[in-house]
Symmetry: C2
Subunit: 244 residues, 2 copies
């Protein structure tokens, strides 16, 4: 059966996350419903990342296994005609039969956006965390470098996960400012539950000067969730890209 | 009575424009309601621009005349606490008693955002006009220079206006691209009804290659609305700044 690799963009605001749930509007549910409208077939769908409620994506990757015979341009056009306005298929490629969007991924890149001005954001409000206190983005960047490399990230995982290992490799933590916006981009081979949001919450504490920059390394070494900062709210987070 | 000069940002999506209307959610209505919650007083409010339904603002200027004695920081804080999330007061200054937001303005700057990619925008959809056909932004910029200067802009005004003169001075038309987005910024001493949206619709026709660049000058010279391009949709437009 043909397998399609779909690249999906969505605004998380109106979705209860990626994963299909009864009685909830989810991205997976919307994608499957769109596909059924096109083909009358219930597809098998797996995503690289099960994004949480409110979290956005520019480059979620989804494997869609189907019996329908369509070409790539038809798949994209038909799905975009049926998907709601807060989700769109950006690209479609044929994938090998055994392609698995989750297991075959060798890395992901996320961006967390902080809006750093006294007055709350208006146009950007669905996509940022508003932090009114001044942030030192250079201090945040320096502090974040302690996370780069292969480490046990147990301090940066919310409870309730079933993963066996909390060891991950972070390839880059990049904190930059453009006007009122501080952007935290994190790339790694894999991420624990809420990991990027806890990294963002922790770096913001360092950026506000509430903590020394060296505290981020200490929080990592503690291997204890209570040692790190708060979990930043979901709407600042966006899945930018998945690597294969 | 004290007069405050307020700088207001809002997302136009959920508002039926600036001007108060019975049974409609408008920015003026929301601002007046917020002020009544703060002071129990119905304020006199005038805006630099009566933006249409769906049009956004980063720097709308409003004169608010009040009997209440508050300082500037209190005015801003109190209004922002009461305004809905799609509007915020960015700045507050004391203004002379006779300050009039509309009549005292010596110019305005607008931005019109076009999203130019085949797949429709998701995160940006409330703030852009989606044009899927390729646009030549350099051609649009060159064509737009015909509008700079003092001209009769009768071709660039929608019917239904009561203005006496259609002569205005445009100081700058700047068309630039950043990735998938083509931005058209227009600055002038004053604008006719729908003028920036008609300019955007006209420049997009030139940018698609449907018209010669020289057609924009011909459309201007015709002094006839039918000679110019379509009125671009409201959600691409944003009032950036008002000059005094």
């Amino acid at each position: 059966m043909p397998t399609w690799k779909l690249t999906l963009a969505y605004e998380g605001t109106g979705f209860c996350g990626w994963q299909r749930q009864p009685q909830q509007r989810t991205v997976q549910g919307a994608l499957e419903a769109a596909w059924r409208e096109v083909t009358d077939e219930q597809p098998q769908v797996t995503a690289a990342s099960r994004t949480d409620s409110g979290v956005h994506a520019e480059g979620q990757v989804v494997a869609l296994v189907t019996e329908a015979s369509l070409d790539a341009a038809d798949v994209r056009g038909a799905l975009n005609a049926k998907l709601p306005e807060d989700a769109a298929v950006v690209a479609v490629e044929a994938a090998p039969d055994n392609f698995h969007a989750t297991h075959d991924s060798i890395g992901k890149r996320y961006r967390y956006r902080v809006y750093n001005a006294r007055v709350r954001p208006v146009a950007e409000r669905r996509f940022v965390w508003h932090v009114p206190q001044p942030l030192d983005e250079a201090a945040m960047h320096r502090a974040g470098q302690a996370l780069v490399g292969r480490h046990d990230f147990a301090s940066f995982e919310s409870a309730g996960s079933e993963r066996e290992s909390t060891v991950r490799t972070i390839r880059a933590v990049e904190v930059t400012r453009s006007g009122e916006e501080v952007s935290i981009e994190v790339e790694g081979d894999g991420f624990l539950y809420n990991m990027v949001r806890i990294i963002a919450g922790t770096l913001v504490e360092a950026g506000r000067g509430l903590r020394e920059e060296s505290w981020v390394a200490e929080a990592l070494a503690a291997c204890d969730r209570r040692a790190a900062g708060q979990t930043a709210p979901p709407q600042g987070l966006c899945l930018l890209r998945v690597f294969y």
